[in-house]
Symmetry: C2
Subunit: 248 residues, 2 copies
Amino acid sequence: MAPSKSEQAYELIQDKIVSGAYSPGYRLVLGSIAAELGCSTVPVREAIRRLEAEGLVAFERNVGATVASVDATLYLHTLQTLSVLEGAATALAAPLLDADDLAAARRINRDMESCLEHFDPQRFSRLNVAFHERLYGPCPNPHILDLVQRGWNRMRAMRSSTFATVPGRARESVAEHDVLLDLLEAGAPPPSVEAAARDHRTNTLNAYLAVAGLPPSPLYLPLPGTSPTDATPDQTPEPALRGRKDTP
Amino acid sequence: MAPSKSEQAYELIQDKIVSGAYSPGYRLVLGSIAAELGCSTVPVREAIRRLEAEGLVAFERNVGATVASVDATLYLHTLQTLSVLEGAATALAAPLLDADDLAAARRINRDMESCLEHFDPQRFSRLNVAFHERLYGPCPNPHILDLVQRGWNRMRAMRSSTFATVPGRARESVAEHDVLLDLLEAGAPPPSVEAAARDHRTNTLNAYLAVAGLPPSPLYLPLPGTSPTDATPDQTPEPALRGRKDTP
DNA sequence: GACACCATGATCGTATACGATTTCGTACAT
DNA sequence: ATGTACGAAATCGTATACGATCATGGTGTC
């Protein structure tokens, strides 16, 4: 059966946001979108409230909705959140991965490597998502899985429009993927997997922070079991990623 | 100004759910709630969709909404998610806590201790929330903070109706709070704080799992710096908290 | 007696309509 | 020229109305 109108509206708007057709700050007018869809404003309204709950649009009473504008700090906060959640999801999924999963992930990572040669960042990004999805997909906690999914949605909506990747980061990323896969193949305990998965993302976060001249995120995880020295780069007691004051 | 009708509806329904007036499985009929509020079904509908996004109600097309029923595994999954998020939030907040915060938290924990004597589990629960809110409140990442808040909402909605506390757990809990506070007062690095905060909650989770005869959650964090032995109780490579199969 | 089928009622999904609120442009006074 | 007051247009918020869909109970047949 055809999906409901509000479902259609939801997908249309989300698609336009992540594809960049609606750029941050764009005013989402109920009437216009309804006309475009050939439906009334009621389902559109519902769709927009759903997107609000996911952080993709900002909504103000009696004023309307706009595509959430990305503020660098918001982007970084999302990345930090994702580092925590995805690390946990990957650790929980680790014992459930079979050889096929690992082989598939390894293959994806080889593809990513080749993207580096041909300089195809678009494809590289897609593969990166696929790689991680494959690894955290079997996570048995649906709640965490849902939150990770939402995090990625936000990221996609933001990155396409605003941020470029940090120069050297892509190559390092591929290498870190291989390290993570090695751990998984060796049947490493969940805390080690979590540390590797989280720190992989935290490294990206810190690469951004570094170019912005900010201190790194304090949410590094030490690798248990293995040599602890190279997993906890000097403890920085000062807080990083201090939030902007809430706009009064 | 008066809040909008959909806001009123949202608060009414949420309140009825967490207070237990609507117990799990209760059928939320748009028309009835609208009548109770003296408004039409449209705002009620919107409120219910918001609650759905937060996991408090389940919704099915052309059928309606019911208060999310709690399934033990769902409860435990929420608890596990919260352990991860709250651990991170507390670690991020740690460097921003001042002496007042710590003193207040310590005071709350003394109150909790006295609740143990007089056996006042209601008050104990409230204080427990207050204690942790105080500690993760200054977390500079609003996104994580939001997710933690939602997690607690879900917990409140569930616990009141279904679950009793594990016998010995309350007393241990108070002791662990003191350990956490000691760490914070000593200015421990964020990873140590995260480990303590997360494991505190994971211990509760595992107490439930133990009485159910299930293996413990694998998401323990090793305490870095301090003796690593007592923080990582034997690695259990077998997966815990395996999700129920999605109902087909 | 059990199962399949259909009628009926309850409830949801959405369109339309209208009042409420905000925003923006314009005119006027300083 | 700048700031303020007012009015019109745009947009949102919600009520009402009606078609669409699903659950339920009764009836007929095997």
